[in-house]
Symmetry: C2
Subunit: 454 residues, 2 copies
């Protein structure tokens, strides 16, 4: 169980890649280590590293590797995200994908091949670092599968699978690991086979929660659960949960736990790790005075989830007020102020990390009850609306929350389509499967994904 | 009369700003000086200099100033363009204007104010350099006033004037010059007043030729003629001229001359300088074997235009084949190969520069005949279609070309709306005004502005 922090550089935010400063980096990472974190997640900017489709800048790769080394000097492991892509409402897309050169980021053969080249080169640049935790394909790249990002988008889940598979293959190739999945050229784990155990470094795919909550998103839960070495979730209660439940309500402080359990329902192996890779206390919906308690309760609930690999808090440093146009919450989202002082949320995070990090927490036994998610109709026929059911306020989400509050711990989630897979259920420790009660009260929320999304 | 070259960095193209190398810069500029050029035009990338709306990177400004100094060491003056913006089919727009932050680049008050901050800071950074030729607001920024660039666009010519005025004011403020126009806050020269003579450094606005040829372009001839210190034209015969006339036909090798005369018709002062700031021999329409003759004839015809301030050839170096996705012509558009060898076009350019540059050519007397352009109806009522008339193949363009071939030199152009301004006509040396003959043969061309536009 790993406790980490997403690193938001204090001086110049991610634009600091343009003025890379080892000393600024060291100051930030030293402060993060002081929070009890054992790892950081870092975010190169795609157009800075690969400004032309066939130009991957060696100096940029060197800067990234240097950050990994500096982190190591403070005892921190590092996860490197490749395709940024999207960060805190800002998008960074190379000019070779813009306007006259606009092409489908996910399906154009030249684009996919060259994007894979970048992922491979980035992974290769850090592959030999002993403190490399993993490589994530990119931060919430599924953002680019819908407006306001420029069309064309992928239109099918299969196109999303092909893209994710190619990217995971590229990362593994860069890391020098060779798996059957990589060799197959599809990158998807073959269903029903015994997949290799997760390796370090981990290769992961990160998605924002529309993957689970929005039936229109081309990237869905299967993409999270079937690609890479762990299932990654990003929990943000400004998605409607806080509005519906109150920021300190169970539906908010259990949102991370819920999303972890929900996502795990699609895992094809019982022991696939679940990683809460982003979670934070956004003060547009969480009162500043409540933020430390929100932080603690969110972490404690997440720790109840089986096979939890880690929690990586968003984020290290408040954005400087000298930078314009950020959503207001971003100026107060750090565990540290912009000038490096530990905030009350930072103190509470440190307490949690020291109490539960680094092997000090026992892995919880899986909840023995599972709530059945209707991914198919009772007769096995396809049905739509599964993701709307799962969104905060939806019938499934409401029923899960009710059970969690009744038991003090949220149940697992099982797909109706997998109820017959007794081996999987047994491996997951599921002994009781319960249906969503017919009288579940639902609230239809238009899940908000405003320009406030980190 | 100045002869110059647009500098396309040989190593890494304009992405080289991310890996700024004084020695690479010096090698390129030495080669350009060897072509007989007296100046270069250089192009910072906007998102590299101003990655956040309120972050203008001092290191980037320093790099730009360093290029100016290196150029000075080879005897070259420098014109610096600010808002790139658009270059050779690629666009570079900061993330604070993209997707979730998309706003009208030309009218949003925060955007305009911060864009002006950048223009001012850039001008200030180079203001004290003795070899500063001028500051151009940006390369063909009117590209961003239509698709495929993302909406919203400006919708009126007045919005374009307000924006251009604000940018020119900002450049002048950065250069430390104070003019009545700048003080007025509009940036437009007051009509009918005696404006100050052009100063060095020049402040200019650069537009691509849709400003003159496309009635749907919000930026038009007035913007070119009324803002800054000179009227700037960019002549590219891949706009349809070469298709219609043949690359070596009069309508092609006179295209620069024509556009200079056409643009000058909107000048409010007879002595306003005209600058052919971009012209090249694009080998998608010009045979490689013809390119040297095309170069010579284009230059010789342009030299016939009154008040010609300079010709700045596009471009210095072929784009490296190691960089992907450029329009094919860009790999062969240099006067120098990518590795710095002088091409036949470069030899011919040098002959022209040595023959006619640096005060060796006498300023031509203005043509005494002017062809009347129907910017209004004969009765003075507004009319539409003036720009379509002016495009290659249009009735006005065809008539101008016919006169040019008959006389060996193209006539001036006078707006019908200004025929009564006898003082202006006298100052321009116009003694005879002729109408477009009724029997002029026209060819309706869809003026092509493909992804091949430098």
């Amino acid at each position: 169980m790993r406790f980490g922090v997403n690193h938001t550089p204090s001086n110049g935010w991610f634009h600091s890649w343009l003025d890379f400063s080892p000393s600024d980096t060291a100051r930030d990472l030293e402060a993060i280590a002081g929070l009890g974190a054992d790892h950081v997640r870092i975010f190169p900017l795609w157009p800075v590293v690969q400004p032309n489709r066939t130009l991957i800048r060696p100096a940029a790769l060197q800067d990234i590797a240097t950050v990994v080394d500096i982190a190591g000097s403070f005892g921190l492991d590092v996860n490197v995200d490749a395709l940024q892509g999207h960060l805190s409402s800002f998008d960074f897309v190379p000019s070779w994908l813009d306007s006259w050169h606009r092409r489908n980021m996910f399906t154009d053969p030249d684009v996919v091949a060259s994007t894979a080249d970048y992922v491979r080169a980035l992974a290769d640049a850090v592959a030999d670092r002993p403190n490399l935790l993993g490589v994530t394909i990119g931060n919430e790249v599924n953002q680019f599968a819908h407006a306001p990002h420029p069309a064309p988008f992928p239109t099918t889940a299969a196109q999303g699978h092909a893209w994710a598979g190619a990217m995971v293959d590229a990362a593994r190739a860069g890391l020098g690991s060779s798996t059957g999945a990589a060799a197959s050229g599809t990158g998807r784990e073959a269903r029903g086979t015994s997949a290799p155990p997760p390796r370090r470094p981990l290769v992961t795919l990160a998605q924002y929660d529309a993957a689970w909550y929005d039936d229109a998103q081309p990237f869905g839960p299967e993409h999270a659960a079937e690609h890479g070495d762990a299932t990654v979730t990003h929990s943000w209660v400004f998605n409607g949960a806080a509005r519906l439940h109150g920021a300190m309500g169970a539906g908010s402080v259990r949102h991370g736990e819920y999303l972890l359990q929900l996502a795990a329902a699609w895992n094809e192996r019982a022991d696939r790790p679940n990683w809460l890779q982003e979670v934070g206390a956004p003060t547009n919906v969480v009162d500043v005075a409540d933020a430390p308690d929100f932080t603690e309760q969110t972490i404690r609930h997440a720790l109840d989830v089986q096979h939890l690999a880690g929690i990586t808090w968003w984020c290290s440093h408040d954005v400087s007020r000298s930078l314009a146009d950020f959503p207001e919450l971003e100026y107060d989202l750090g565990l540290l102020t912009n000038d490096g002082r530990v905030k009350p949320t930072g103190e509470r995070f440190r307490e949690m990390a020291l109490a539960f990090g680094d092997g000090r927490s026992e892995a919880p036994t899986p909840p023995s009850t599972a709530l059945v998610l209707d991914d198919v109709a009772p007769d096995g026929a396809p049905r739509s609306g599964t993701r709307a059911d799962s969104a905060p306020g939806g019938r499934f989400a409401a029923a899960w929350l009710s059970l969690a509050e009744q038991d003090g711990r949220g149940p697992q989630v099982v797909l109706r389509s997998r109820l017959g897979d007794t081996a999987l259920l047994a491996a997951r420790g599921i002994r009781t499967c319960v249906d969503v009660p017919a009288d579940t009260t639902t609230t239809t929320l238009s899940v908000a994904h405003p320009a406030t999304m980190p």
